[in-house]
Structure formats: structure tokens, C-alpha cells
């Protein structure tokens, strides 16, 4: 008998399997399937809960700067909270560490963590430490969001315009995958000033993460090559499929978008944003218009975890 293994069903097959096995009660507003879980909290706020695991030789090498690895470990989760429109508050960090690892490495790793914690006013309130063969860092971050500011992946509307913050890079080459600045300030500005219909952070690549919005919202999209901001050394393929840019990808109605673009023209928006396309009603279909105005259908793929 041939047994099915994880690399056969992949990450999303695995997540689908898990989703079917768990039951949720009414206190859960959103479970598995967004950047963070959304939980009932108070009259006007929700709790947000997200976790990210980094593993040596999968997500980083131990020869990389330890403080950067620590930065990345917490910054990933800050980016998830930002993608929901929320504010990070408290984190617990579980570590797996080889017994022969130098203390100075752990100290530097924690310096990176403490530094970003300070910058975003996050309390490191607990965790777990264990012996392991490879370095493992699992961060769980608890945040909050005002009910009116919550943004999901699943609520893009047909006709919405699609925007991204910043520009896309080949992050492994530029180092952005370790040193990126999570777009928390940008997210808070956006949710406070505009009605954002859907949002995600670009962790697995533009095509795949836009694919998550389309899939969860049961929509399609058309995007334009000429509108995608990328560094000059970055290939189009890398811009579409490369992971770990941690920019925000969001959609809003045409009238809200017009207001956003007017504000941009007036210099009221202090960070780069670009409009890259629009949401269509063709479920899960991503159309790409290249520089010669030729149309093709893109695969909704990106970084493969397995």
C-alpha cells in the first residue's frame, strides 16, 4: 500500500484537512484561514491571535546575524496583526536550541526580538525553552483591533481596486526577508482613514497572497505589469512569486480608492502605495496584463512550504 505523504497534499491541503477536524464555538469570529484568528473581546474590540514558526535551515541559516533572525521572528507576526488592521500587544516565544549553541547567539537573537518589541510596544510575557538539534523560534502574538477597523481576506468586493504598499524585491538577495519593517503604521493609517474591504500581507508572494484574498472572497482579479513597483534588480517572476516582502496588499471600493489617490496626490500619504489592478467576479481567476497589453492567466502559487 502506498502511503500519502505531506509533500503530496502540500501546505494548503494540510490546512484544509485540519480545518475540517476542528470545531469552533460562537466566541470565534474568524478561525483558521486569515493572517490572525479573531476572537470576541469587549464591546468595541476583538482579540487577534497569530503564530509563526521559524526553523534553522528552512527559514534561516545559523550563519546569519542572530539579531536579524530575532527581528524576523517577531516582525512576521507584527505583519500578520497589521494585515488585520490591528495593534500587537503581547507575545510568547518558544525556543528550541542546540545545547552546544553559544549563549552570545541567543543573546543577540533576543536583542533582535527585544528591539522590535520595544519599537512596536509589545510585551514579551512568556514562552518555553527546549533542547533541539536545530534552532526553532515560534512566536505567538496577541493583538487587538477595534471592531470597526477589522479587515479580513474574505471580504473583497467586485470592482474593488487593488493596492500594495512599498515595492517588491528579491528579498533573499537584498536581505529584506530578515530586516523588513512590518507595515503597522501604514495599516493603522489606512484602516482609520479609509474603508478597506480586504487586506493580507505579502509573505508567500504577490500572486499567492492575492490568490488567498480571491479564494476566501470567491472573486477574481486583473493586475497590470506596468503598475507593479519593483526594484530594478528584481525580475517580474520574482515580483510575482517571490516571498517575504511583507508589504500590505489591500482592496477598497472605487470611491474610497479615488479618495486615497487624491490624498496621495496632495502628499497626505507618507508611504509609497500603488494601484495594481482590480477585483473581478471570476472566481479564483487571476488575469495578468503584461507590458505589451497581452493578457494571461496566472497560477495562484508562490512559496511552497512543503
Amino acid at each position: 500500500m502506498k502511503l500519502s505523504t505531506i509533500n503530496k497534499i502540500g501546505e494548503f491541503g494540510l490546512i484544509d484537512m485540519i480545518k475540517k477536524m476542528v470545531k469552533l464555538d460562537a466566541s470565534v469570529v474568524k478561525g483558521i484561514g486569515d493572517d490572525a484568528a479573531v476572537l470576541n473581546f469587549s464591546r468595541d474590540k476583538y482579540l487577534l491571535l497569530t503564530s509563526d514558526m521559524l526553523i534553522e535551515d528552512v527559514h534561516f541559516k545559523c550563519t546569519m546575524q542572530a539579531s536579524n533572525i530575532g527581528h524576523k521572528a517577531l516582525a512576521c507576526s507584527v505583519s500578520d496583526i497589521a494585515a488585520m488592521g490591528g495593534i500587537p500587544k503581547n507575545a510568547v516565544i518558544s525556543l528550541g536550541l542546540p545545547t552546544s549553541l553559544e549563549i552570545s547567539f541567543v543573546k543577540d537573537l533576543y536583542k533582535g526580538i527585544a528591539n522590535i518589541a520595544k519599537k512596536f510596544k509589545i510585551n514579551i510575557v512568556g514562552g518555553d525553552t527546549n533542547r533541539a538539534e536545530k534552532i526553532i523560534i515560534d512566536v505567538t502574538l496577541l493583538g487587538e483591533v477595534e471592531k470597526k477597523n477589522l479587515v479580513l481576506r474574505s471580504t473583497a468586493k467586485t470592482g474593488d481596486l487593488i493596492f500594495i504598499t512599498g515595492s517588491l524585491e528579491e528579498t533573499l538577495k537584498t536581505g529584506k526577508h530578515l530586516t523588513f519593517k512590518p507595515r503597522l503604521k501604514e495599516s493603522r493609517f489606512l484602516v482609520k482613514n479609509y474603508r478597506i474591504n480586504s487586506m493580507i500581507d505579502i509573505s508567500d508572494g504577490l500572486a499567492q497572497d492575492l490568490g488567498h484574498i480571491l479564494n476566501e472572497s470567491h472573486k477574481g482579479a486583473v493586475i497590470y505589469q506596468r503598475a507593479i513597483l519593483k526594484n530594478k534588480d528584481t525580475s517580474l517572476k520574482e515580483a510575482l512569486y517571490g516571498g517575504e516582502n511583507y508589504e500590505l496588499l489591500f482592496t477598497l471600493s472605487q470611491s474610497q480608492a479615488r479618495r486615497l489617490l487624491r490624498d496621495k496626490a496632495k502628499g497626505k500619504i507618507k508611504f509609497p502605495i500603488s494601484e495594481i489592478g482590480s477585483i473581478t467576479k471570476s472566481k479564483n481567476k487571476l488575469i495578468f496584463i503584461d507590458a505589451d497589453n497581452k493578457e494571461k492567466t496566472l497560477k495562484l502559487r508562490g512559496f511552497r512550504h512543503f
Copy 2:
């Protein structure tokens, strides 16, 4: 230059180092150093947050029953919430999985998780899945506790009597380390009916976990061999230093303890408890009175994580 490594400073040296590197704001009631972090939540409740990482070949073998491994992964955290007097609510689970792992293993692992989640009414609301060489399961559990029912490690009082639930076993031999039932119902009964001064779950061994209470409370203790309930196949050494019994160790004033023992005599307490000694003012000193009434000082050690 000789570099200092983790096995030199050990788990508690590592935790002390980390504690010094993080700063907490006023919303944190208790950070690193108890079974769970305690956070401000509402007028009458606190949030509790705890995480536990299990790693293949450190905490379990992949030849063990997958559903038991899943059970253990979540049950550890339920036990942590119980040790604070609280109720578990929502969990996120990060997995590291070899690509060649059989899907049926992951399914069974999740059956074990889903089973205990159902039993204790816990929502599995999210997580992360990653490729790894060894199986890694990191559970973060969010719970709640009424302010009046919160119990810390750090609040044992001189003269308190010390109790444990259940009996101690050589858990690796009996299998209890995988199949234990977290003492949540017992904890809730205790905090609702008595003023519990301090509590911890016995995960690293009686001597070490009592040591945590003594250390955090700046107290000492005397315990009696004849009072320690253990299975007949379990050595005294194993009862004192063996890990993963996940019983509750708690202290309460003599008057509260008398009431507890009267209730026990009347059959009002539906689970085994035994009084094993008392709290003294001799900071960090653990005195053991053996079966021949001979006194010796015990080391506050137990399971070594590094």
C-alpha cells in the same frame, strides 16, 4: 577564547537572561516566571497566555501513537492554565513536519488534539505549518481567570500546608507522560471553594516544581516521605525528581487546609489529594523527612531541559 554554551547555564540561566532583556508595560500582571502570563482583560477577569513546544526525539518518539502525542501537546498547556486557576479558551498550533511524513500520522496527531480540545471546550483557531527535519508541535493556549480565582507561584505563605492531587508515577514507564488528564476540573473546584495561596503543575518533578514555588515566594518547605502518594512500582527518587506527572501542587493556610481536609473526610472532594508538608520561612530550603524521621536537605532539581 572559550565560548559559553547553553548547556553551561541551563534552562533557568537562559530564562533569567531573557527576563532581564525584556521590558513590560502596566497591562502585564505577570510576565515570564509562572505557568502562564497574566494580562489585563476586563473588570473582573484576566487573560492567561502559555506556550509549550514538543520536539520529536526530545519529548516523544515518532513511533509513539500519534493521537497520544497530540493529546500531550495540548494537555500540557491545559495543565498550565489549570495551575493558574483558570479556564482554557483558544489555541493556536504551529507544526514543523518532515515532507515525507505520512498524512495519516498528522491526521491522528490532530485527532488527539481535537479530542482534548472538545473535552475542555477549546477552540483551535489558527497556527502555522512548516517543513522541518523532526516533528515539532508548538501550542499556545489563551485562557481566562476571574481575578479572585487567580493563583500564582509567588504567593506561598509561611505556615501554609502543601498538597498534591493524585499520586506520582514513573510516567515514562506507565505512559502517563502521554496520556495524563490535566487537572482542570480539580483546579476549578479548589479555587472556587478555598483560598489557594500558591499553585503549580508538576511537570519537571515534585522537588523542582516545589522549588519554583519556594524560589518565587522566597520561602522554604518541609515535606514528609510517608505523605507522598506514589504508585507501588515507583521509586522515591522517581517520585521526587521524575517529570511529567502533571498533578497540581498547591498551598493554603492552615485554617483553609483544615476545611479542605474536613470536606475530604465528608467525601465532598471527588479526587485524591494528599497533604505532603508545609511552607517555612527558610528561603529556598527544602527539607525532606524520610520514613525513619531522618531529616535531609533536598536539591531543588528535576528534569533538565538542556
